[in-house]
Amino acid sequence: MSDRSSNATPRTTWQSLDHLAGDQPVGGEFTQSTSLVNSAVSRRGFMTALTATMALTAAACRRPLQHLVPAVHSNQTAIPGMPVYYTSVYSQGNVAYGTLVKTREGRPIKVNGNDQHPSSAGKSTAQMQASVLSLYDPDRIRRPRVRKGGGNTSYDNALTSIANAMQEAQSSGKKVVVLTGDHCSPSFSALQARMTEAIPNLSFVSMPALIADNPAIANNAVLGIDAELVPQLDKATVVVAVDADPLGVDPLALFHMTRYSKKRAPSKSNATMSKLIVAEAQYSLTGANADERTRLAPTQLEPFMACIEAEICGGLAIGGDIAATADGATKALAQKTAAALKSAVGSAVVLAGKHLSPKAHAMALNISNSLGSVGAGLAIDPAFRLPNSGAKGAAVKALQADLEQGAVHALLFCDTNPEYFADRAFRKAMLSAPVRAAINYYEDETANICEISIPASHWLESWSDAASFDGTLSIQQPMIMPLNEGIGSTYDSLMAIAKKVAPGFLADAETYHDFVKANWSGFLASAGMTGVTAWNDALVKGAVSVPVSAAASTVNMASASTLATSTVKSGMALYLSPSLTVQDGTYSNNAWLLELPDPVTKVTWENVALVSPDTAVKLGLAASKDPKALRKASGVVVTIQTERGTIDAPAWVQPGMADDVVAISLGYGRTSVGHHGNGAGVNGYAVAAGLQPTGYVAVSNIAKSGTSVRIACAQDHHTLDDGNGERPVAKFLTLHELAGGEAVEKTHEHFPNTGHDGKYLKPLSIVPDYQYKGHRWGMVIDMSACTGCSSCIIACQSENNIATVGKEQVLIGREMHWIRLDRYYVGDVDSPDTVVEPMLCQHCENAPCENVCPVAATTHSPEGLNEMVYNRCVGTRYCLNNCPYKVRRFNFLDYNDVLKQPADLAFNPDITVRMRGVMEKCTFCVQRLHEAKWHARDQGRARINDGEAVTACQEACPAGAIFFGDTNDPKSVVSQMREHERGFKVLSELNVRPQVTYLAKVRNS
């Protein structure tokens, strides 16, 4: 394991404050010697050593830590109480995101993006952040077993059992198949190749939950590339997304957001921004961000593309027959959209949803190509291919056939859970393999059907690597020894099995670490990194750029016309898509993500059957489209029947969806994952179309089941103009208004009817303002850049030890998130626009919470922070009542009391874990401010520089929508952003003088 160097560059990562300070002594406060005893060891030093020894001794009680920070040979980089940062890489399927992981006392506690990695660019997703909680999940498999439901056995025994089965297969001439999930690890690919080479009857089949081959099939036909391409949204000025969700469920969403947001923050002097046009049947997060969004029936999606294609490609169009099925409205919309696309030749792209037919993808490529946006350096660069993203369906089908014929003796599941997501036929076929073994993270559905089960490792526990689409390679380095004592990583297990089956296999590599390192010698050489330090340098940097050497490819539509077309028929359709929170089910036992409100629906802890208001009325769920009637439809359970099966799911009215569509998120309805995930929601895979679960499935019957359940929604259905006149709390304007100088009027417009003069209120006070001499902290949030991805919520939760409360408590309204994303609908209930407003403590100068606390438990700091003193709080809740933003969170019960070991290891030791009966709220990450100040003091500076103190939400925000800093420093970014003409303060008319400035959302329409 290697740490990063301590050069104080702007992106320095460092092990300790001392380290950063260089040679300067830490303790500057005692200028004279205060040692009472004239000895070599000062009293202070002795106490320090004693404390450190005790801390280390305590830490050493846990075996995994013992290996990493041995008390005997003290790790010079690990000073108790000081964080150590390591680079690694997080793979979401076949997308690699470089990470920088904060560890304390040998345990990882916080995942950040690595700014040296182009895909993550220093940013992170909610799932990356939350994976820390999964690491310490008490429900993980702890020990191997070799019998179903049997007791534990030794690791070696379990490995031997698998090896024996493989040898039996060899002798009987049958196959051994390892089923894996998605990955982008070149070393794992190499291991697979070496293993299949060494064991002839062994094969690997990639079977992730979300197989979506259509893009690869189309790319293969049109470009000759069997892979998904990665569009570069920063190079696109007009993006048309047809049922595509690049900013939402797409594994590339983080990358897309970092690029897309670059063109989404206009000002009056630079009134330019990209234009996002969305046509979709469901209401995706991308749709919520659209400049122009139209809901289209599923049957009209591909005709819509075909009409655009006809407009733009003319004679080269391949979708003439599809265009013929477009209705009048679709044609008109297509014409308008085509005009917008034509206005941006060279930077206009059409993105098709992954579930759309191969022909739709081919049409999208055709349009983008005709607009001159396909090619090297353009928005769609055929060189940027997702690793291992080729079509997978054929291999799985072949495996199914093999299984059905009894040709497979042993089936080894490795980080994949087909018993949960695969269709019935495949699941039945799996049972025909006499020996089944699983190396999975949980005792999940698939492990349940296996005799042998070995715990899988977490990415923070194992060596591996990952390749990004642009050629960036990263080493996945472990931060902690596997929490399952004595059990190697998933890859180590595979290697060990292979070594048992084929003696002499990888004789030069004892562990997978050795294998990865050996693999990397070639990568490092091609990246121009040589010498003994190359490996360490790569670890320190976290990303090594290896040039992509893809053969040039050109669009050739000749073979595209034969591609399969859409099979969606008119009538009621079920739309399945991965969850925005628990994804495909990977995180369905992660309490942070289960409690994270879905960015679109705001529903927590489960998935729901989304229907449009009209469909709700049609299905008899609501008496009318009146909002009150629609509210009653939520939670009414409907039975949905497709040709694959039947599920009961609670209905939820989603404004803006197409009619006759029911949308359900995948990833829920687990039966065997852990105490959080079991029974949460319904399993959409059970009614999915088959191999490719996402997309539309014809609904043969849908009816009320007669029951209803309560849905824990973190926000009610209230829209901004919910019968109470416009509440100007989340302001928005169009690009034209911004360019025309109307922004000031629009955003500074005072609350109607209050008779003010349309400008900022002058602070009203009868006492002189407090003079801030040092720092004064403030924040700016650009609502135009914010996509609503919710990464900030989990980043805050991870940083600040925020408890999860469970569905029952969310139902009452007791969720604890310090930052929330207020989602407001604007417009009619059939097709509303969305405005997302991140809401957190506004650190009001005239804080209404402060004066009402009888015990002065919430006070104002000399740096302008509204501080909460947990120890002093007696819990009158008066501050909560009096907070106009309702951002204070009360510990109604002891929410941390239910945590089981080792879940408490995910806590940030810098932050108090709050007991019941006390109030809490956003602190602007005061612990980070203090850390930055110590750091500055160690370097002899009185003030910290702009950008040195970063809040957790700001650090994570993929769109870079959050700015934080010293508003007393006129040169700081935040000071300058506060003067932006789009700036406004929420509820400024209350004269509470909030220190968070919002920049109004701009829509390019």
Binding site: Q715, D716, H718, T719, L720, D722, N724, G725, R727, V729, F751, P752, N753, T754, G755, Q809, I812, G813, R814, E815, R820, D822, R823, Y824, E837, M839, P848, N851, V852, C853, P854, V855, A856, R872, C873, V874, G875, T876, R877, Y878, L880, N881, N882, P884, Y885, K886, R888, R889, F890, N891, F892, L893, D894, M915, R916, G917, M919, L987, L990, V992
Partner: protein, 474 residues
């Protein structure tokens, strides 16, 4: 305030009383002493025991629910974000309001020489004390960490922590404690002559010792009476502003907040009127029961009850005016927040609560316009109960409607109580009734000395052979 009923007899204007007599049956001074002290001396009846058992069980239920809350946290209640207060503070304000009638009757009516009060002031004052106790129970238990609630008291401590005098809750601490302390003193000082009477009356040695201890060596000398009258007058003077201040301070809990529906200047007078309104209603409820069970019709006459009904009607219309004025100002202010919150009060999720309040507080007392109806015992009992309910809903409406939908629609919610909160409320009623029953049994429930002062024989100018008043007393 005219609380007397003039009945003019032209035949003998100079000799006939122009007011109804305040004590019926023309008892002698000795009769009065015997009648009231015998309640203390009398045997404990089965009926009494059963009643105390029921109220005691209610109290135990509440105490159990309180312990459950303290052990598990406020989360066992239905409170949430955004509704941080619910039944807890509703009950607190309601109980404090009920206490107000006691002080008003004791102090203000005393200073205004409204002598009809003399028969009811003792029980009204006792009610005040018990109501304040219930209010304190609510306000102490509503904190998240009840064991630290004493931090609200400004006491010197090693933590160098001081309370926040800018907080209305801090003002509450002072207002309620002052109120409780002054009410206790006033009640006790008024009791001293009567305790001495009971001391002399009871036969049990133990009882003599106990009553003797609390009567502080009262002998009934002229000097004692002189000092007593001065002390009583001073305490009445001290108590009088408290009638106005305590509920004004309680209303500051809301008015100092910045929330629409709370942040309004009408609250202090409106709350005081409401407090007197609810307090009189509660006194009425209790007196109607007490005069039946303890057979005190002689002292608590229909005239007393009628006078009180007039006060109820007057204060009821004051709160009715306040409701109307709140609506008007919400519209007139031009503040959309204010407008919306009041429309929401009347038509929103808690409209049922609002209209319960209006019906009970504004509509129900209107029956007292009719003299016949305001002298009807069953009807006034029903109205007094309705007013108690209505005033509870008034506080609930103010708290819940403002909190559940304030500024940002994203944070709107709904609040409903759990069984724990309901049990605690029942428990406070149980504590209140139990204490009142104990009081009625062991303490002279009517101020003997003061009642004697309003009997015909107590008036130096009164001709003792005048029997005209017996005719009126039909």
């Amino acid at each position: 305030m005219s609380v007397s009923h003039l009945e003019h007899n032209p035949a003998s204007a100079l000799t006939e009383p122009i007011r109804d007599p305040l004590v019926l049956g023309n008892p002698s001074m000795k009769d009065v002493t015997a009648r009231i002290a015998s309640i203390v001396e009398g045997k404990i009846t089965i009926k009494y025991l059963l009643t105390v058992t029921v109220t005691g069980c209610m109290a135990l239920l509440g105490i159990g629910a309180l312990l459950y809350t303290i052990l598990n946290g406020i989360g066992v209640w239905g409170l949430n974000n955004p509704v941080g207060w619910g039944w807890d503070i509703t009950n607190f304000v309601w109980w404090i309001g009920i206490g107000h009638a006691g002080t008003l009757i004791s102090a203000i009516l005393y200073l205004f020489r409204q002598r009809w009060r003399n028969a009811i002031n003792r029980s009204a004052e006792a009610m005040t004390l018990f109501a304040v106790l219930c209010a304190l129970t609510m306000v102490l238990s509503h904190t998240g960490r009840q064991w630290l609630a004493y931090w609200l008291i400004p006491y010197p401590n090693q933590m160098y922590m001081w309370v926040n005098f800018r907080s209305p809750l801090m003002w509450d601490v002072f207002a309620v404690n002052t109120y409780g302390a002054v009410s206790l003193m006033f009640w006790f000082v008024g009791l001293i002559p009567d305790l001495a009477t009971v001391r002399n009356y009871v036969r049990s040695k133990v009882a003599q010792k106990i009553y003797g201890f609390f009567s502080l060596g009262w002998t009934g000398s002229n000097r004692h009476w002189h000092h007593y009258e001065i002390a009583y007058m001073i305490l009445a003077g001290i108590s009088t502003p408290l009638v106005l201040s305590v509920h004004s301070v309680v209303s500051f809990d809301f008015t100092v907040g910045i929330l629409p529906g709370w942040h309004t200047t009408i609250f202090p007078p409106y709350f005081v009127a409401g407090a007197i309104f609810s307090g009189f209603a509660m006194v009425m409820t209790l007196l109607i029961i007490a005069r039946e069970i303890l057979d005190l019709k002689q002292f608590i006459t229909i005239k007393h009850l009628e006078n009180m009904n007039k006060v109820i009607m007057a204060t009821g219309m004051m709160v009715g005016y306040a409701y109307a004025m709140e609506m008007f100002i919400a519209w007139y202010s031009g503040s959309a927040w204010e407008r919306w919150i009041f429309i929401n009060r009347a038509l929103g999720d808690y409209a049922w609560s609002y209209w319960t309040m209006v019906t009970c507080n504004v509509v129900a007392p209107q029956v007292f316009w009719s003299k016949k109806l305001r002298r009807s015992i069953p009807l006034m009992f029903v109205v007094s109960i309705l007013v108690n309910i209505g005033m509870w809903f008034e506080r609930f409406t103010i708290i819940a409607t403002t909190l559940h939908h304030d500024f940002l629609p994203s944070s709107w919610g709904y609040y409903s109580p759990t069984w724990v909160e309901i049990s605690i409320f029942i428990g406070t009623i149980g504590i209140f009734l139990t204490l009142f029953l104990l009081f009625a049994k062991f303490v002279p429930v009517i101020a003997i000395a003061e009642v004697k002062a309003i009997m015909p024989g107590a008036q130096p100018s009164h001709h003792h052979d005048d029997h005209a008043h017996t005719e009126v007393a039909k």
